[in-house]
């Protein structure tokens, strides 16, 4: 029983409890959802705060705890929770975003009961996935959070392509998840029969001592890369994302794009790369090219979008590219940067989708051709949106900048990736700015058309979450070491594992040693 | 030449094949059903011949069971066919395609 247990079990319990609340007490549901997520958030902040003080176990995990009963010890499955530098930030981010999402879901007016139950389930699943130290439950909780996503998009989604979007996201993500599952099982089977386990620390130790057979790596890593890649809308498997988020209710989009999506990246960093170092090294160049696909290509796609949500969705896909690039660089700076962006993008995506959701709830449309000059009416939203846009194109002061810069430096450190880095910079600096400013220009600036005369600016319950998200971005942006100092030791170890042996003949990574 | 096990087996096999052919080609449910009986009988023949040449009577007991079960099946089957005929005025398989795809 540690703080982590409460963090992820609270929402789940609340979800169960809500099932017994009569459906006409919508207000109670809201209150419960907001209240619970708020408590969760406080716990998350507390956890983050105490992180350095808390005692770490042999593998550097803190707040480690196991939930009895769940799982099957005969298969080496146990619901073990814990955080280290790698996921502590994600958990915190998840908790904050969850609260924000709960606040933003006041716009839901139909079938609130189901909605809040699903929302809380999703929250619990997400947090569980990120803090579980057991590969099985890592996957288990992810799926648990995934299903509500589908249903929420299906039932409360918007837009005429809703159904198509729902099924597309469902199938895409299922394929990704299942591929990853096969990979994870194969990974698990690499251990000797008697000592098989899904326990991440144990696995880490094991593979640190004896590297996996090359053939096994050749089977496991591509699976994990592909599976996780699809989950993170790696190019060219990205087309579900923008459409899905475009059709999702804002809370769902916030939670999925912001938090749940990071599952794949987390898996790549935590599992795939350190456990299959040689093959991972072989694939990094390739991964970098795909990442470029995200940054540049999807960026261009985003430039063309007519619908605000699609634009935002594509932009969030494009940001994934930077993370992949950081991972591909496979060195301390790059990987740390990637982790930083993961956190930053979580806040950012939640922010943008929350805002667009508000605009939608006000205007009933997100077609940019219809909007314009809204900044005059929606002062707060306008300011927040501009900030979000600036954070989106990597403006200093926001956490995103820290991440992106580190990623760039990290990638630059790897000779073969320099060319790609240059293009990535172009994508991040120029193209990113182009579509973000275009959004600001068309939605907020310019003449305010007469039909929007009676829009009303966000009320407290809308300002609060957004202010919170911006604040988090700024705080970490001003003092990145709050995060990086926690992340660094872990990434150091992971990079050490990933570059354990000198790159083989066809390995592509040549590390620039720096004094 | 001496008639051996194989001869009997070949006969039973042919009988089996005939039954099969009947099931496949005939359209009248009752005839199809007869063909099925034919197949069962071929099995009986095989069993009996084996039991003879292996000098082991267990096979014949099995045949006994088979005959009984077959009788039971026939009873149910025919009842079913009758019931269906009452509804459809036909015992033709082509007329039994209300459920498809």
């Amino acid at each position: 029983m540690s703080i982590l247990t409460f963090i992820f079990i609270l929402p789940l319990l609340a979800a169960m409890a809500l099932a017994f609340v009569p459906r006409n007490l919508a207000i109670v549901m809201r209150a419960a959802a907001v209240g619970v997520t708020f408590v969760t958030m406080l716990l998350g902040v507390l956890m983050f705060w105490q992180f350095n003080g808390a005692p770490a176990d042999a593998n550097g995990y803190r707040f480690v705890t196991t939930i009895p009963g769940l799982g099957a010890e005969s298969l080496g499955i146990a619901c073990k929770l814990g955080v280290d530098g790698l996921n502590v930030g994600l958990v915190l981010m998840g908790a904050i975003v969850a609260f924000a999402a709960a606040c933003c879901s006041f716009e839901i007016k139909t079938r609130e009961k189901e909605f809040y139950i699903l929302l809380l389930t999703m929250t619990g699943g997400i947090l569980g996935a990120f803090m579980s130290l057991d590969l099985f439950f890592f996957y288990f909780f992810h799926e648990l959070a995934l299903v509500p996503t589908f249903i929420m998009i299906g039932v409360w989604g918007r837009g005429e392509k809703k159904n198509y979007a729902t099924f597309q996201i469902t199938l895409y993500l299922s394929i990704g998840a299942l591929l990853a599952l096969i990979g994870l099982i194969a990974l698990y089977l690499q251990l000797p029969t008697d000592s098989r386990t899904f326990d991440i620390p144990t696995l880490t130790q094991y593979f640190a001592e004896h590297t996996m057979a090359y053939s096994a790596q050749m089977f496991v890593f591509p699976l994990l890369l592909l599976g996780f890649g699809i989950l993170v809308s790696l190019w060219p498997f990205h087309s579900w994302a923008a459409l899905g988020y475009g059709s999702a209710p804002s809370a769902t989009a916030m939670l999925h794009a912001g938090v749940l999506k990071k599952f794949g990246l987390y898996g790549l960093i935590r599992v795939a790369i350190p456990f299959c170092p040689e093959v991972a090294r072989m694939h990094m160049q390739f991964l970098a090219w795909l990442a470029l696909g995200n940054v540049l290509y999807v960026g261009w796609v985003a430039m063309r979008q007519k619908n605000l949500n699609l634009l935002i969705g594509n932009s969030s896909v494009a940001h994934m590219g930077m993370i992949f690039l950081g991972i591909a660089s496979l060195n301390l700076i790059g990987v740390t940067g990637a982790v930083v962006i993961m956190v930053a993008h979580g806040f950012l995506a939640a922010l943008t989708f929350g805002l667009s959701g508000y605009i939608y709830s006000q205007t009933g449309t997100l077609e940019m051709s219809e909007l314009g000059g809204l900044a005059k009416k929606l002062r707060f939203v306008g300011v927040a949106f501009v900030m979000a846009a600036m954070a989106g194109c990597g403006l200093p002061g926001f956490l995103n900048f820290v991440g992106e810069v580190s990623v760039l430096f990290g990638a630059w450190q790897v000779n073969p990736l320099r060319g790609i880095t240059v293009l990535a910079v172009w994508g991040a600096l120029i193209i990113g700015a182009v579509y973000m400013l275009r959004a600001v220009r068309t939605v907020l600036h310019g003449e305010l058309s007469a039909k929007w005369e009676n829009l009303s600016d966000a009320d407290l319950w809308r300002r609060l979450p957004h202010a919170l998200l911006i604040a988090s971005l700024l705080v970490f942006g001003f003092f990145p070491r709050l995060l990086t100092d926690k992340v660094k030791p872990v990434t150091e170890q992971i990079v050490k594992m990933a570059t354990a042996k000198a790159p083989d003949s066809n390995g592509t990574v040549v590390l620039v040693e720096n004094k | 030449m001496i008639v051996g096990l194989e001869h009997y087996l070949v006969v039973s096999a042919l009988l089996f094949a005939l039954g099969l052919l009947g099931v496949i080609t005939r359209r009248n449910l009752i005839v199809i059903y007869m063909s099925l009986e034919l197949m069962l009988n071929s099995a009986n023949l095989a069993l009996v011949s084996f039991s003879r040449f292996n000098d082991n009577l267990n096979g014949q007991v099995m045949v006994f069971f088979i005959i009984t079960v077959a009788a039971a099946e026939v009873a149910v089957g025919l009842a079913l066919i009758v019931a269906l005929y009452r509804k459809r005025q036909s015992a033709h398989v082509e007329d039994l395609t209300s459920m498809k795809l």
Binding site: - | E6, V11, L18, L38, S49, V61, E73, A75, L80, A91
Partner: protein, 169 residues
């Protein structure tokens, strides 16, 4: 080539011919004829049983099959007074492929039969399938299946009653 062998050939040919006429009678497609030929098939098979010293079964075969089962068939046919199966044209392709499939199965069987050749160097058979021995086995080793079969018959009975009793509200 002794008498038994000759008889074997006689009965075998008889069985197969009648069987063929059951399935594919070029002259009539009337179920009654099929039924009749089925009776003949069964009876000639009973002959084969006798050749195989399975006297009890031969009797059962004639009594149960030729007696009971076939009568049942005929009853039903009469009851429904099935007209002659009108000659809808058979789908040639279907027929051919079906024939191929069946011949394939048989061909395979014969092949494996020749390959395995189970009948070689077997001892001279002595066992005789007479009532006493079979009865003893039936009530000792095979008691359980025997009883189950009885349940099966009970079920069949219930089923038949249910399926064919008149009251259809």
């Amino acid at each position: 080539m002794g008498l038994p062998d000759i008889l074997f050939y006689v009965f075998a040919v008889l069985t197969l011919v009648c069987g063929t006429l059951v399935v594919a009678n070029p002259f009539s497609r009337n179920p009654v004829t099929s039924a009749m030929f089925l009776v003949l098939t069964i009876i000639s098979m009973a002959g084969l049983f006798v050749l195989l010293h399975a006297f009890f079964l031969a009797a059962v075969q004639v009594l149960v099959y030729a007696g009971a089962v076939m009568v049942l068939f005929l009853f039903v046919i009469m009851l429904l007074d099935l007209k002659e199966e009108e000659r809808r044209k058979i789908k040639k392709a279907g027929f051919i492929t079906g024939l191929l499939a069946v011949t394939a199965i048989v061909g395979l069987f014969v092949r494996s039969l020749l390959a395995a050749h189970p009948g070689k160097d077997l001892p001279v058979p002595t066992a005789v399938g007479d009532t006493a021995t079979l009865g003893k086995m039936l009530f000792t080793n095979y008691l359980l299946p025997f009883e189950i079969v009885s349940i099966l018959l009970l079920v069949a009975m219930v089923g038949v009653i249910l399926l064919s009793k008149k009251d259809l509200k």
